[in-house]
């Protein structure tokens, strides 16, 4: 199997989806000749033409609204928002339209669209380029929110997102675009959109994360194993809906859980998972469910961003504390 970076896997999945289905169109700022500022759409315009790979005007509300209109007529638009910090103008369309078109028309019109955007900090980018506000999106009924953490999962989940009959926000961990490499077979096989991935099994502790933070989380699991702690690592992968069964099953087994995410702590999606565990598996818990997260402040610019993001050290500290709790 050939090796691909995460962003190459995205590119493969997009090409495959466009090849398979003439209704798939890609649109966004600089997705055409330029192939996207991260090269996620490189080569697509050449291959599928400027009508199906469309450079839009600089207008995010428009991009999301076009997707809704196209999708309602049976196309499968895949919009790109250049950075997650620019997704907020899409929220009206996502909340008031995309997520509820099917429900409010009782199935008459539907909205099979995907909105892709790079997610998270850690690439020393300018202001507003380091957002990780997935929790806002995961609160919206009718939407799906997906975030891969490896090239294979990026490929399979993106294919699934494009094929899904409902709107999906697809968050791509910017920090892993080139850093994550792995074997990706371009076989057109999609992954399920409601199943978490157990990346590592263990009986002492459950570590849950998604997106780029899986990197530090896996490193923590490795380091913990050297200390004799067998950590199970779950890549949540789909945040909405998310795979409660896998999460609850793991915690029932280990009794201890640390959730790691990059977003600000308060109201982050970790809260939902912790709350659910506390509600449904209280008697299994041997220690408080602990969150290791970004801080409740504006993501600082490059010089300080490393202190904002959960570090291996912070994960280790939390994991040790949880394991020692009694």
């Amino acid at each position: 199997m050939p090796e691909a970076t995460l962003v190459e896997a995205i590119n493969l999945a997009l090409a495959r989806a466009m090849e398979d289905d003439p209704d798939v169109v890609v649109l966004g700022e600089d997705v055409g000749v330029n192939g996207g500022v991260f090269r996620a759409t490189a080569g697509l315009q050449k291959r599928f033409g400027p009508e199906r790979v469309l450079d839009t005007p600089l207008a995010e509300l428009l991009i999301s609204g076009l997707c809704v209109g196209m999708a309602a007529q049976g196309m499968k638009p895949v919009g790109e928002i250049q950075f997650m910090g620019f997704i907020y103008p899409c929220l009206d369309q996502l909340v008031n339209h995309a997520s509820r078109l099917r429900n409010r028309t009782q199935g008459r019109l539907t909205c099979p669209m995907v909105l892709r955007t790079p997610h998270g900090a850690g690439i020393r980018a300018p202001e507003h380029h380091s957002e990780s506000t997935e929790a806002m999106l995961a609160h919206i009924p009718g939407l799906r929110v997906v975030m891969p953490s490896s090239p294979e999962r990026a490929y399979g989940l993106l294919l699934a997102a494009v094929r899904d009959p409902d709107p999906v926000v697809f968050l791509e961990p910017t920090r892993l675009y080139r850093a994550a490499k792995g074997e990706v077979e371009d076989n057109g096989e999609a992954l399920p959109l409601d199943t978490a991935f157990v990346l590592r099994e263990g009986r002492d502790l459950t570590l849950i994360s998604w997106g780029a933070m899986l990197k530090e989380t896996m490193a923590a699991a490795e380091a913990l194993s050297a200390e004799g702690i067998a950590a199970e690592v779950i890549d949540l992968a789909t945040l909405k809906p998310y795979d409660e069964d896998t999460v609850l099953g793991s915690v029932a087994k280990t009794g201890r859980c640390v959730i790691v995410h990059e977003a600000a702590r308060t109201g982050g999606f970790g809260a939902e998972i912790a709350a659910t565990i506390a509600e449904r598996r209280l008697s299994s818990l041997l220690a408080p469910v602990t969150r290791v997260t970004g801080y409740d402040t504006v993501v600082p610019m490059a010089r300080l961003e490393q202190y904002y993001m959960p570090s291996l050290g912070r994960i280790m500290t939390a994991a040790r504390r949880v394991c020692q709790f009694s």
Binding site: V68, R102, T105, D166
Partner: protein
Amino acid sequence: MASRRVNQDLPVIARFEVRHRNYVSPDGSITRPLPASASDANLLIALYRAMVLLRLFDKKAVALQRTGRLGTYAVSLGQEAVSVGIASAMREEDVLLPSYRDNGALLWRGVKLEEILLFWGGDERGNRFSGPPHDFPFCVPVGSQAPHAAGVAYALKLRKEPRVAVCLFGDGATSKGDVYEAMNFAGVHKLPVVFVVTNNQWAISVPLRLQTGCETLAQKAIAAGFTGEQVDGSDVVAMRAAAEEAIRAARDGKGPRFIEAVTYRLGDHTTSDDAARYRPAEEVQAHWKKEPIARLRAYLVAQKMWSKADEEQLAAECHERVEVAAERYLATVPRLPETMFDHLYAELPEVYAAQRREVAGGHDA
């Protein structure tokens, strides 16, 4: 006439103009040669009937609301010619993207009266209506349907289908970036879409002069790179002709058009509103003189196309239709509560199924 000139000594590199369309004056007399469509008596009568039905239907809806049997409702009183005139120029396969006040367009396109009542009665099934299945439902967040119209039109163009998207919104909506972004995009790709603003002078209590510093709304299209025209929106003949022309141009690949229909909202904004709080009775009174139904009737009567007997028969017919629709609406059994989860996703994810079961189990809660 509006015009902006500064620095008369600098060379002019672009010029634009806005034209105005009217055929039938408030007293029913003709102001200029009529368009071809006006020679079709059946069409004129159909337009007339549609407007009368709409007005009567609105009345019934308000009565239902006042007696607690319908939710908030927005009447078309005074502006019936706009959505009826526009819809009449569309083909079945065209795509309508209406605003919440465009009952007239929906009815013309085959949506049932009782379906409209169902929607305003608080039942989503009103949006799964008998009109063309590709038409959009009423849009409540003002202006947010305009980007959909651009998206629809892009899809139609991409698929090389000779169909047109028609998007209706109010004067207030022209202040929303949504509308501007959509129109600008339509201009880039010369999309088959017609944007129509029903300029009824008011956005709830906000008068047009606080909505924009523009002399006309039609000129908004200049910023999007295409043509805007101002139409007497209380003259259904003019509305129909303008719509016909714009839709034909869009269908023929000549790109988008923008129509400003100048009319007046004679009623309250909705049943929740009391317009007397913010506008003088004299203003409303003055506009009653221009309203579209009396105007077309005057013309039809003068042309001997319409008689008192016709009028009486129509009134009776409309009354009957409206009453039957109201009864059907009132007889509609509410959905089961748990159906609030249906059509949320194509298939309800297992993780939410428990919630659906909870609702299903607690009907008496």
